[in-house]
Structure formats: structure tokens, C-alpha cells
């Protein structure tokens, strides 16, 4: 029988420790600022001027559609980098808190399979961030749409990619923090992958510079094995500005990596003596 205890408790914990509130307030501020303080002067579909909190902004003579897409892709890049890091930081403590001595005993002595406990915790953490990302993206999309009458479907759709990028790196946080029982270690591992993903994404330009075929082979292998966070975030931008997408291999290999992390965590967690 499904018992949502741990899943709901993860939500409750994020409410109480203000993690949920922090992201919700930040998202609300962004949506509210755009809705209340941004005024656009549009003449014949071309942006002629713009004021933000009463101050006039110098904008290039883009069409409204171009301007909205630029704004949305800029926001998506911000969320995909800085926002992703903040989200990983905020959720990195979820697993070590659960694994604390005296706390884990109270969970493992219940008639619930261990895989369900860890899955519920993972799903809880991922859902908190998914909710906030969806709230931010849909909020911005709605407000900008109402103000500019430009309803770019790529922007709300890119939320799925933002959530996917987070879930993949969150699976890294999970496996590292469950095996090491350390939140900072999990965060460090996920951040390292996030930071190095643009380097790996440029493997076609970088590998010719290596002197040894072995190094080139290792670098290419790392590219294929590790999650493609930079390319996933890049795909968000392409989706927003309506460029062609080649997502299958990016999403596919990242998904396989996340799945391996998840299975590895479940196997480790179900076998470990606490």
C-alpha cells in the first residue's frame, strides 16, 4: 500500500526550514517585478521603449517577439546555471538529514522496503524544485504574455528541461550523499559536473589538442558517460528561440546516467547496515 509519509515529510521539512519559501519568494519577486514594474512601449510590433520601476531602459530596436524571446532565454540561462546551483545546494542536506544516526533507525524499522524510503525522499526533493520552477516559468510566461501578447510556447515547455537538468544532478547529489553520508560531498560532486559540462560539451574542439590518443579517448568517454547539463540548458534556449533541437541523445544519455545513479543508490541503501 502506498504511504506518502516520507514524500510529504520532505515537503513539510522544506516548508519549515524555509527552503521552499526562499525559492517561492524569489520566483514571486521575479514574476511580480515583471508584472508590476515593467512597462513596454510597443509601436507596430516593435519595441520603442521600456521602463522598469520608473527608469527608462535603453533597448535595441527588436521586435516585441524578439525581445520577449531574448528576455525568456536570458531568464532560462540564469535559472539553468545559478538557479540550478541554488536548488542543488538547498536540497543537498535532504539525504544526510535522513541518514543521521537515530533518525534512520526510526525509518528502517518500519514495514516499508528501503527502496521506497529513498525514492520518496528523492521524489520529494525533486518535486519541491519542480513546483518552484514551474511556478516561475509559468508566472513569467503569463505576465509577459499579458503585457506583450506574445505567447511563446517554447518557454513553458523549457521548464521540463530545467526540471530534467535538476533531477539528473540531484541523482548525483543522492548517490554521493547516501554513500558518503555528507551533504557537502554530494553538492560538490553535482556542482563539479555542472561546471565541467560545458568543457565536455566542447569535446570536439578540445580533444584534437590532446597529445595522446588515450587522453582523447578518455575525454570522449567522459563526455558520453557524464550528464550533459550544459547541452540541456542550451536546449532550453534553442526551444525558446524556436531553433531546431537534437535532444534525443542529450536527454537519453543524461537519463541513463541518472538512472544508474538511482539504481546504484537503491542497491547501496538496501544493502547497507545502519
Amino acid at each position: 500500500m502506498f504511504r506518502p509519509g516520507i514524500f510529504l515529510d520532505t515537503f513539510q521539512e522544506s516548508f519549515r526550514n524555509k527552503m521552499f519559501l526562499f525559492f517561492f519568494i524569489v520566483a514571486s519577486l521575479i514574476v511580480g517585478s515583471i508584472g508590476l514594474a515593467l512597462n513596454m512601449d510597443v509601436v507596430n510590433g516593435v519595441m520603442r521603449g521600456m521602463t522598469f520601476f520608473g527608469s527608462e531602459l535603453r533597448v535595441p530596436a527588436f521586435s516585441v517577439k524578439q525581445w520577449v524571446e531574448s528576455f525568456q532565454s536570458g531568464l532560462a540561462m540564469f535559472v539553468g546555471t545559478f538557479g540550478l546551483f541554488l536548488a542543488l545546494m538547498a536540497t543537498s542536506t535532504l539525504f544526510p538529514l535522513m541518514l543521521q544516526k537515530g533518525s534512520i533507525d526510526l525509518l528502517l524499522c518500519r514495514p516499508i522496503p528501503r527502496w521506497r524510503l529513498i525514492t520518496a525522499r528523492f521524489a520529494g526533493g525533486a518535486s519541491i524544485m519542480a513546483f518552484n520552477a514551474a511556478y516561475l516559468f509559468l508566472g513569467v510566461w503569463t505576465v509577459l504574455g499579458l503585457k506583450s501578447s506574445v505567447w511563446n510556447h517554447g518557454f513553458p515547455e523549457s521548464t521540463i528541461l530545467a526540471i530534467f537538468a535538476f533531477v539528473v544532478l540531484f541523482s548525483v547529489v543522492m548517490i554521493v550523499s547516501v554513500t558518503t553520508e555528507s551533504g557537502p560531498a554530494g553538492l560538490l560532486a553535482a556542482t563539479t559536473l555542472l561546471v565541467f559540462s560545458p568543457v565536455l560539451a566542447a569535446h570536439e574542439q578540445i580533444t584534437p589538442a590532446f597529445s595522446s590518443e588515450l587522453y582523447r579517448h578518455i575525454f570522449r568517454t567522459l563526455y558520453w558517460v557524464l550528464p550533459k547539463s550544459a547541452e540541456t540548458i542550451g536546449a532550453m534556449r534553442r526551444l525558446i528561440i524556436e531553433r531546431p533541437l537534437e535532444l534525443n541523445w542529450v536527454v537519453g544519455t543524461s537519463f541513463i546516467f541518472a538512472l544508474v545513479c538511482y539504481i546504484g543508490t537503491v542497491v547501496y541503501f538496501t544493502r547497507k547496515d545502519y
Binding site: 500500500m1 521539512e13 533518525s103 534512520i104 533507525d105 526510526l106 525509518l107 524499522c109 518500519r110 547496515d273
Partner: protein
């Protein structure tokens, strides 16, 4: 009911002691006995459990449990005594599937703990319980009650009862991060009981409680046992165990070294004590004969191990015209049994 014979052979008896070392358990050097016969369904059965913790990076092995076997009758309060590191908590953790045995089996309420559904009927108070700090006392009980598979209405009713009984009703909606150690311990007891379990593990249940709190815990344990529930207490506080338990087992270095009722364990006399008046001549004579004695309040307390020695000493003292003030048979206390068997 005669549990003694099979239990005696199970707890590392002659058969196990003369077994060849097992290849798999080089650190333990025991072999698994193959057949056990329990004459009646026990509430808790431990069958030849071995556990070795291996640290792969240092290649160090710690043998936590060696061929541990015993049983607990339903409706009793059983105490597992032992010094720190004896393996008591490891055994309980294996019984609750928090850790896994290398070999052997544990059955609770007639079911192997491999079948996790039996844990619905089991309550557990860990040694240092740590609750999610963001929850209130009420939320803690609801969370753990529901995770134990109990019906929500029953959990709510039980939670209210136990909070009242354990003097936490006024703290029902206060976050546990504000609780003192004693309150935390009482709440931990409530969460162990909130789903109305039939078998309850209590690991150091009186740790951090004041004397009234300890008395209340003892009263609750007795009431639960009277209702037919079985209580398993892990402790190294001898006085508590002596007051509360129907039967105890002593554990040392991962092995059960002695078990029985407190009366059975302390019934053997541990020698005789003769009390005589102090004199320097007598002191010198006792030193000469190498007889142990202590001087207390102008009297010498002379210790002799058995009746023959006591009679010989009385004859010798009377031959020297020494007046004997008293002769006492020395009974073993639980503490003396513990010190003798475990330390």
C-alpha cells in the same frame, strides 16, 4: 514450560563450543549448529546469528555477534545486559532489519524478519532517537504511526493517549526541536507504542529520564506485559533491569554468556563471611594463612569460598579461642554476576 534445556544448548553450549571454525567467519571461529528445536512458539527467537563488520579500507574485522541464540517467551519482559560494545544494539538492529546478519535467523512473533510485514507489530525505541526537528510531537506520532502501517484513526487515538500518559499533552503542538532530552525520550517511547505493537524493543529506555519518569516507564512496561505484549529491553543499567525484567541474558563480546531469571542467576551462593573481633595476632595469622579479609568498624570480615573452608576456619579460630561474632552466607547480586561473567 521447560525452555531451559534447548536454550542452554543454544546459547553457545557444548556443541557449539567444540565446533570447528567456519571458513566464512574466520574472525568468529564458530560453526553453525544445524538443528534447533524450540518447544513452544516464542515471541522472539534468535537462531545462530553471526555478524562481522568489515572495514574494507583498513581490512579490519569486528566480530559483533558470534553464534547468538536464545528465545523470549510471549508476554514477558526480557532484558539483554552487557557492557558497551557487547553487541546488544547490533542484535536489535538485525532484528529490525536495520542491519543484516551474516548468517542465522531472527524470528519475531513467529515470522522471520525477512518478511518485513512483521514489523507492523513491532515497536522500537532507539538508543538516541532523533526526530525531524520541523515536526511537532503530534506530527511525529502520526508520521511514524502511519509508516508502521497502522490505521490513521487508531494512530490518532493512541497518540492522544500516550501524549497524555507520558505528560506531553501540553506539548502536543510544539516542535520537537524545543524538547528537552527527557521529553524527547518520552516522545520516543510514545512513537514506539503509537501503532499498538505486540513486540517492543526498548534500547536504554530510561536514559535521560528523571526518577519519576523511570518509574513511569517501568509501570508502562509492566502494564504492556500484563496485556500479553512482549518487551525486550537493552540496557547496562543493572538496577533498572533487576526491577523490571522477568528474564535476562548477559552478553559479552558478541556472545550470550548467561541467561535465566534474576533468581536463577543470583541463587548460587558465592561463599561465606566470618566476622570476628580485631586483634593483631589474628591479623598476622590470617596473613600467614593467606586468607582474604577486610577490617570494618573494629571487626575482621574473613572471606572463604565454600562450606569446607568455612568449617575448617571455624575450627582453627575456636582452637585459638577467638570468638566468632557472626557467620553469613554470601549471596550473589546481579551486579556481582555481571562483573563475574561479563567483565
Amino acid at each position: 514450560m521447560d525452555l531451559e534445556a534447548p536454550l542452554d544448548c543454544l546459547s553457545g553450549g557444548a556443541e557449539a563450543r567444540h565446533a570447528k571454525p567456519s571458513r566464512k567467519h574466520s574472525a568468529c571461529r564458530w560453526e553453525i549448529p544445524t538443528r534447533y528445536n524450540f518447544p513452544m512458539p516464542a515471541a522472539f527467537e534468535v537462531r545462530a546469528v553471526f555478524k562481522t563488520f568489515r572495514h574494507w579500507w583498513s581490512r579490519r574485522e569486528v566480530c559483533a555477534l558470534r553464534n547468538v541464540s536464545f528465545a523470549v517467551q510471549p508476554g514477558t519482559i526480557f532484558g539483554l545486559l552487557g557492557p558497551n560494545g557487547a553487541g546488544k544494539t547490533t542484535l536489535v538492529k538485525i532484528a529490525l532489519t536495520i542491519a543484516y546478519p551474516d548468517q542465522g535467523e531472527i524470528r519475531v512473533l513467529g515470522e522471520s524478519v525477512r518478511n518485513r510485514s512483521v514489523l507492523r507489530s513491532v515497536g522500537y525505541l532507539p538508543e538516541n532517537p532523533r526526530f525531524p526537528a520541523h515536526l511537532t510531537a503530534w506530527q511525529v506520532l502520526r508520521l511514524y504511526g502511519s509508516l508502521s502501517g497502522a490505521d490513521t484513526k487508531r494512530v490518532d487515538a493512541n497518540a492522544a493517549n500516550w501524549l497524555e500518559r507520558l505528560d506531553l499533552a501540553g506539548w502536543r503542538d510544539v516542535r520537537v526541536s524545543k524538547f528537552s532530552k527527557g521529553m524527547n525520550e518520552r516522545l520516543a517511547l510514545a512513537q514506539a507504542l503509537v501503532h499498538d505493537p505486540d513486540f517492543i524493543f526498548l534500547d536504554e529506555p530510561t536514559d535521560g529520564l528523571d526518577p519519576p519518569g523511570r518509574r513511569e516507564v517501568r509501570a508502562i512496561c509492566r502494564e504492556l506485559a500484563d496485556q500479553g505484549k512482549t518487551i525486550f529491553i537493552n540496557s547496562h543499567i543493572l538496577a533498572e533491569i533487576e526491577l523490571i525484567c522477568d528474564r535476562i541474558a548477559l552478553m559479552k563480546s558478541g556472545e550470550i554468556v548467561e541467561q535465566g531469571t534474576i533468581v536463577e542467576l543470583t541463587s548460587n551462593q558465592s561463599g561465606y563471611e566470618l566476622v570476628v573481633g580485631v586483634s593483631n595476632e589474628l591479623r598476622n595469622w590470617l596473613h600467614e594463612k593467606m586468607l582474604p579479609f577486610t577490617a570494618v568498624d573494629g571487626h575482621l570480615h574473613i572471606h572463604v569460598p565454600d562450606r569446607t573452608s568455612a568449617n575448617s576456619l571455624i575450627d582453627a579460630l575456636r582452637a585459638k579461642n577467638v570468638e566468632i561474632d557472626s557467620l553469613n552466607v554470601k549471596k550473589r547480586t546481579l551486579e556481582s554476576v555481571f562483573m563475574e561473567k561479563v567483565l
